[in-house]
Symmetry: C2
Subunit: 196 residues, 2 copies
């Protein structure tokens, strides 16, 4: 497996699909950050990744001006990772990558995040997922409207993943360019006719 | 000074206006969190406080399932603290309180935050500040359009604060109720005619 752009190979997780917070999905995340910076620089949109939610337990003040956090824990996020504004409209999305070849497992999506996305969708927001299949180097913009049908089935009958073929059929494949890396706003324009 | 709702008195900061992150503006923040929860529960809007941005330097893994952050530092926020969606529109605001009686000092507002708010405003978002004068127990919704004139003067000629009277004249005073605590969306409706 090749790691472009000088990204170091990730440590193999100990057992199953779970990967620790710090290592998870860094390549996709950096590419989306670059894309968002491009949108910001060109005044096209203002979209940011939210900070990782952390429960701070202890802070030391070794000097007046520098507080040092000495004990803290990762919290389960209650919203999705990215949000912002495009043409006055609210944009909300989550980005995930998987090494799986045949399906996207729900393992790294939290129920709170999905319910947050559902609430945003119901309030009139543009909500989607960006899903990368690393083995194929394919990145999909997957509208929440389609994703949530699979999620609700998962909640109802326990099916723990979405088949790759379904995602492919229900998404827009994002072309990979230099800058913006993944022009997901252009893909959005294809999907949502109300955005003139 | 009375502390309603069982909020403990804050430790007095050591010297000047600066208050450490953990203590700053907790009362206002909790009241806004309650208001946002009310909006969420009543499906009126989806608005959240962003997590405090933290630079994580070291993480221990004492057991398989619990990562413990042992060294981290507060980062200067590059966006405002609150954002979300109301009637399909993007909402973005910052909340600050001051004990000052005659003016609102810019001391706790970062230039990056103001430029973020400016970008959101220019992209069509609804942007404002919620400013509390604790001495008067008055909370104002202060539209960014007005705030930014004072900020730009500050950048140009160094005037470090906004007079209380100006804020009073250019804001909507938020009535304090039990629930929602501060109905800032109702105040927004007064200001922005395009939100039918």
């Amino acid at each position: 497996m090749k790691y472009p752009q000088g990204i170091k190979a990730r440590q193999k997780p100990k057992s199953n699909d779970k990967v620790s917070y710090g290592q998870r999905g860094m390549t996709l995340e950096k590419d989306i950050d670059k894309t968002n910076q491009y949108y910001l620089d060109t005044k096209k949109a203002v979209i940011h990744k939210k900070p990782t939610p952390v429960q701070i337990v202890n802070v030391d003040y070794p000097s007046r001006n520098k507080a040092k956090i000495t004990e803290a824990y990762f919290k389960v996020p209650s919203t999705s990772d990215y949000n912002g504004i495009y043409k006055g409209k609210y944009i909300d999305f989550e980005a995930k990558e998987t090494r799986n070849k045949t399906r996207f497992p729900f393992i790294n999506i939290h129920a709170h995040q999905v319910e947050h996305m559902r609430a945003c969708h119901n309030t009139g927001g543009i909500v989607f997922l960006i899903i990368k299949f690393t083995v194929y180097d394919e990145v999909f913009l997957y509208p929440f409207e389609h994703f949530v049908k699979h999620w609700d089935n998962f909640m109802a009958d326990g099916r723990k993943s979405i088949p790759y073929e379904d995602i492919k059929n229900e998404s827009i494949l994002l072309p990979i360019k230099y800058n913006p890396r993944y022009d997901y706003l252009a893909a959005l324009e294809e999907f949502y006719s109300e955005m003139e």
